[in-house]
């Protein structure tokens, strides 16, 4: 797929028309494509961009970022790259906290419970 095609796919995925259909498809029985299986490369790329722009537009609506991000694809990609890296870091640190042994448990159970 050439860069012009990708840019066209992005324009369509960003449009309010397809974003509305995408939202409806997640909650109701609305189809984006005529086929439900055997998606083409083009369709899979389009689905990825629908999700990409849904997330980006939500952040703009919430006021997390300004609308200027939509003026250039490099801005859009850079923000989403930064966001995904930040989310991964947050997730990793949350997992670390959850998997760390509870210090109090060794104090409460001075002797480990016997196995039957």
């Amino acid at each position: 797929m050439n860069l012009n095609t990708i840019s066209n796919i992005r324009t369509l995925a960003k449009s309010s028309y397809f974003q509305t259909i995408y939202s409806a498809a997640k909650e109701q029985d609305v189809k984006i494509f005529e086929n439900n299986i055997n998606f083409t490369d083009l369709q899979i790329t389009f689905l990825k961009y629908l999700s990409f722009y849904s997330s980006l537009l939500t952040d703009i609506a919430l006021g997390d970022i300004e609308e200027i991000v939509l003026t250039n694809e490099i801005y859009e990609d850079s923000y989403m790259l930064y966001k995904s890296k930040k989310d991964r870091k947050t997730l990793a640190s949350n997992n670390k906290e959850q998997s760390a042994p509870q210090k109090t448990s060794s104090w409460i159970f001075k002797n480990p419970p016997r196995s039957e």
Binding site: M1, L3, N4, T5, N8, I9, T11, L12, I32, F33, E34, N35, T40, D41, L42, Q43, F46, D64, I65, E66, I68, V69, N72, I74, Y75, D77, S78, Y79, M80, L81, Y82, K83, K85, K86
Partner: protein
């Protein structure tokens, strides 16, 4: 408005129209996996290959690969790379360079993303964007050069052959037969397609490439 300005204006408007046409065509492709368009008074249709057509394309691919492999005149990608290396052209080195440039670009992207997330200044944003654009241009240049150099390896020739085969079987045109209209094949054989030097064949190949996509790499 002078002649140059007029021409620029026309070019700008033509581009806008082309962009809209492309968008509409791509929208149809996405929804229906088929595209209909008119060229020089004839209506054409390209449809996603069905299972049988894909199976046939796979067989053709095997036949072509075996045929080229049996011929000492042709080289596999690895062999071609070794020959280029003897001439001082390091294709693996080009790939490593591209990966390194992509890492540099991603670092700039992360910095730019942070500026956007923190609602930083527009001048900072533009500065990072310019750096990313420069790196993207170099990466694209290297990629195009590398792809061009590898064009004649067996793997790429087989891929081109498979695209051509699929394009020839999935393209129909609308023909009037009295009061009726029927979709008929544009080319009856792959040879007919390959011999067709008409610019319509080029345009059709362009659209067909979208539909075939990964199917050519079965």
């Amino acid at each position: 408005m002078d002649e140059i300005q007029k021409e620029e204006k026309i070019a700008e408007e033509t581009k806008k129209v082309n962009d809209v046409i492309d968008l509409n065509n791509i929208q149809d492709l996405l929804k229906k996996n088929e595209i209909e368009f008119e060229l020089e008074g004839t209506k054409y249709r390209i449809k996603k290959p069905d299972f049988k057509q894909k199976q046939e394309a796979y067989q053709k691919r095997i036949e072509k690969f075996t045929e080229l492999l049996a011929n000492d005149k042709y080289l596999l990608e690895e062999g071609l790379k070794k020959m280029y290396l003897k001439r001082g052209i390091d294709l693996d080195g080009m790939l490593r360079k591209m990966v390194q440039l992509q890492k540099e670009r991603d670092n700039f992207s992360l910095k730019l993303g942070e500026v956007i997330a923190n609602k930083g200044s527009q001048s900072d944003m533009e500065q990072y964007k310019d750096e990313i654009e420069k790196l993207n241009a170099t990466i694209q240049e290297l990629s195009a050069k590398r792809t061009g150099l590898l064009e004649f390896c067996i793997e790429n020739q087989v891929l081109i052959y498979t695209y051509s085969y699929l394009t020839s079987v999935i393209t129909d045109k609308l023909v009037k037969d009295g009061d009726k209209e029927n979709w008929v094949k544009v080319w009856n054989t792959l040879d007919e397609f390959q011999e067709d030097k008409d610019r319509i064949a080029n345009k059709i190949s362009y659209y067909a490439a979208f539909i075939i996509g990964m199917d050519a790499d079965i």
